[in-house]
């Protein structure tokens, strides 16, 4: 902008810097505090942001290693954090792969194939997605109880059941991938078909390799979406060894058993990788935000 800057403007710049720095201090204070708390000895200590005495006791517990307490008693890890992390990663990876597979094929049909009721089906899917799963928890619980009576590895208390429950949330992903497919010219696939390729080959060998960037984005979105999911996992998983991190973490902070320091270490340990993945994928996620996805 070709605007002449004056003296008045200079103090405005300084004021803006001061305001932003103050706001950033408030914003990142909780994140710095939790790192600091994870390094302080004891579960009830308060102190300065830079701990005066560094102790790795909470980190040991978070990593599943016990330690000898000051009073000579062996302190065992209160919760299997690494097991929960593994459960979360397992469920999120498998769900994300399956979600990616079924949304890619559906998006291909919407972008390239002609069939009846195309627009109503797509609109219906997008409309259905507006109703969050948290409103239908009673039905989801009843459904998986019934499924579990016949196929135990897909019922309540099974990771298979949780993964299955996550496979419904594909409409936004279908929309995203469909949009990307539509930017790829159809001529390339048509040429492949002229050369004798079938529909499936044109899709699998020609279109998909060109769409790898968007597939990676959708994979990351689906992965993050399922790894942070709380309501459905909390009704389907109840027993300690089965829990995901999102469900298990709250047990650190119960009124009768308040493990603030241990929680802090577990939170940093598990939150950091997810945050880094999110920041890494930020560029694409931000462009998808306007499509109406609100993160929980």
């Amino acid at each position: 902008m070709a605007i002449v800057t004056g003296k008045k403007n200079r103090w405005r710049v300084w004021a803006a810097h001061a305001f932003l720095i103050a706001l950033i201090a408030i914003t990142i204070f909780p994140l710095l505090a939790v790192i600091s708390i994870s390094l302080r000895p004891g579960n009830f200590s308060t102190g300065s942001l830079i701990p005066s005495e560094i102790s790795f006791e909470h980190w040991k517990l978070a990593l599943g290693i016990g330690y000898m307490g000051a009073d000579g008693k062996w302190v065992a890890p209160p919760f299997p954090v690494l097991l929960w992390l593994w459960n979360s990663i397992k469920i999120a990876s498998i769900s994300a792969i399956l979600i990616l597979a079924i949304s890619t094929t559906a998006a291909y049909a919407f972008a390239r194939l002609k069939f009846r009721f195309k627009a109503p089906i797509l609109n219906g899917m997008l409309l259905l997605q507006m109703f969050p799963a948290v409103l239908t928890l009673v039905a989801i619980y009843a459904i998986f109880e019934t499924i579990g009576n016949h196929i135990p590895w897909l019922g309540i208390e099974s990771h298979g059941g949780v993964i299955l429950a996550y496979l419904g949330g594909i409409a936004t992903h279908v929309w995203t991938i469909k949009g990307y497919f539509e930017t790829i010219p159809t001529e390339i696939e048509e040429n492949a078909k002229v050369d004798g390729a079938t529909h499936w080959q044109a899709f699998y060998r020609v279109l998909l390799p060109m769409a790898i960037p968007i597939l990676m984005v959708v994979f990351v979105l689906a992965f993050i979406g399922t790894i942070i999911e709380y309501p459905v996992a909390s009704i389907l998983l109840r027993e300690e060894p089965n829990l995901t991190l999102a469900v298990g973490s709250k047990y650190f902070l119960q009124d009768q058993k308040y493990l603030w320091g241990d929680f802090a270490a577990a939170a940093v340990l598990s939150g950091l990788p997810i945050t880094l993945v999110f920041l890494f994928a930020q560029r694409w996620i931000v462009s998808g935000l306007t499509a109406g996805g609100v993160k929980g």
């Binding site: 902008m1 505090a33 919407f110 306007t290």
Partner: protein, 522 residues
């Protein structure tokens, strides 16, 4: 399927062609077996649904008519089963009394009652268990000491297929030492399967860790569906409105069964004064919570977006990344971090407030402070989203508008209220409706931060002062408020309509935006 296999001519194609039909038939047989099992378990509707789904799948993949549906089927099935069906099923549950006291179907509830049995005093024998190598043997004796009996030996993993014969004990026969109570408990599951035939022809069943006895059923079924207590002749008949077996006085037998109750759950929301008061308070708070969140989040987000778009400012990328952080941290972690930070006695926030102002507010015990805390945390979680959205919208405003206003000597505030705000508010409004709808159902925040507590003091069903509708529903269904699935489903159904209304509102705003956009593009 066949399209898959024509890729490479030659061996692999032949092999795949050869395998196609056996695989299809095997899969079909497996699905039919499952359908049959479900049907045999008495769940005819579920079996029908599964059969329909299986047929749809086979039709899509085997016929040429539904070609596009081969690609669509998995996605559509996933949405139908896990999004659409739960919606309808929830509505249906809302019209029943499905709850922890009426959990079973009628058949299973009556089967449970008819299976109940009591030991017959006259045939009660106490027993001891004796080990002989790998086998066990029972020695029975009556309370009066007469007629000691010994059973056949049986293995410790005995399956109970045929009854054991009991014969009078011969004096010379030694049985070895009796097992201790602890060992009997260890073998309890085997003992429960044992049936003993006495020399008189009577059959005895396991009736405890010390006794075997003839078991007589407590209930007898009558032709009209009612059941009669064998002992007293008292009769209980099924009541189709309450879902219990009841006698003439109205005494109920547990467990009850699930029946349709019409609009009873809905009328409770309006007519039951004990329920209505907290329900309406929670509804109001839900709207206030979502509304205030949208207002604060928008205020903070728009301000930051405008500031970060100011080219005179240096380090904008650094600022933007740091301000985006709350959005990147997983919600369940940051909410729990705040739960710890807001702790009254050893939370960092009270430590700072104490040092600065000498106050230590009880964030979790006082209803109003808990609400303030929820809003603070929610604004922290939500503003980066609005900030990023607005940054994009502001970028698309033509720069010459600001140049013109600079020539006119306008202040930054005038610029904001006369140019920026009017131009971004319209594309922003459908997204703000979505933010409202999201927070209307923001279950995770409430569940992890306060769990709705502190509770109202004067309600029959526990209800939290800062519960929102969705967390209250969760509490009614899955926690301490009676596991009343029917009532929870009815409230959920009401919420479906609210969400639908918000979605329509959002779509109307969005389509207006599109029309306006295409109009100005000409």
């Amino acid at each position: 399927m066949s399209t898959l296999t024509t890729a490479k001519p030659g061996v692999s194609t032949d092999w795949a062609q050869l395998m196609k039909w056996p695989l299809t038939i095997a899969l079909g047989a497996a699905m039919l077996y499952l359908v049959f099992n479900v049907y045999a378990a008495g769940q005819a509707m579920w079996a029908l649904g599964l059969l329909t789904l299986t047929c749809a799948a086979f039709y899509s993949y085997l016929s040429n008519i539904g070609f596009a549906y081969r690609y669509l089927f998995p996605g559509l099935a996933g949405m139908a089963i896990f999004v659409a069906f739960p919606l309808l099923y929830t509505m249906q549950i809302g019209f029943t009394n499905y709850s922890s006291s009426n959990l079973l179907s009628f058949e299973r509830s009556s089967r449970y009652l008819l299976d109940q049995s009591i030991p017959d005093e006259a045939t009660t024998h106490s027993y001891t268990v004796h080990r002989e190598g790998d086998t066990l043997r029972l020695a029975l004796s009556k309370a009066d000491g007469a007629g000691a009996l010994v059973t056949d030996a049986f293995a410790s993993n005995f399956d109970g297929a045929n009854p054991l014969r009991a014969t009078p004990q011969v004096a010379s026969q030694s049985l070895g030492t009796a097992l201790s109570m602890r060992d009997i408990i260890a073998n309890r599951e085997t003992l429960q399967r044992v049936k003993i035939t006495l020399p008189t022809g009577e059959t005895l069943n396991y009736s405890g860790l010390r006794e075997f006895a003839r078991l007589t059923p407590v209930w007898k079924q009558n032709a009209d569906g009612s059941i009669t207590k064998t002992e007293s002749g008292e009769s209980f008949s099924p009541n189709g409105t309450t879902g219990f077996f009841e006698n003439a006085k109205g005494d109920k037998l547990q467990p009850g069964y699930t029946v349709g109750v019409g609009f009873a759950n809905y009328s409770r929301m309006i007519n039951d004064p004990d329920f209505r008061a907290p329900f309406f308070a929670i509804f109001i708070w839900t709207v206030v919570f979502a509304g205030l969140t949208v207002i604060f989040v928008t205020a903070v987000g728009v301000t930051l977006a405008v500031l970060l778009n100011w080219e005179a400012l240096r380090f904008r990328t650094v600022y933007r990344t740091l301000l985006f952080l709350p959005y990147a941290v997983p919600g369940f972690i940051s909410i729990l971090v705040f739960k710890g930070l807001f702790n009254q006695n050893f939370g960092e926030i009270n430590a700072i407030l104490d040092a600065l102002f000498g106050v230590k507010p009880a964030w979790f015990a006082d209803p109003l402070r808990a609400k303030v805390m929820l809003l603070i945390v929610n604004v922290w979680l939500g503003f980066p989203y609005i900030m990023v959205l607005c940054a994009g919208l502001i970028k698309s405003i033509p720069a010459d508008l600001y140049e013109a206003s600079a020539i006119a000597g306008a202040s930054p505030l005038t610029n904001f209220f006369k140019i920026t705000l009017p131009l971004i508010i319209k594309p922003l409004s459908p997204l703000l409706v979505m933010v409202f709808a999201f927070n209307f159902n923001n279950f995770v925040l409430i569940a992890l931060l306060t769990d709705g507590r502190p509770d109202f003091l004067n309600t029959k069903i526990p209800a939290g002062t800062n519960d929102i509708l969705v967390s209250y529903t969760y509490r009614i269904a899955f926690k301490d408020s009676g596991q009343d699935f029917g009532l929870a489903a009815a409230i959920s159904t009401v919420m479906f309509f609210m969400v639908a209304a918000m979605s329509i509102w959002n779509l109307r705003l969005a389509s207006k935006e599109i029309n306006r956009g295409s109009g100005s593009g000409k």
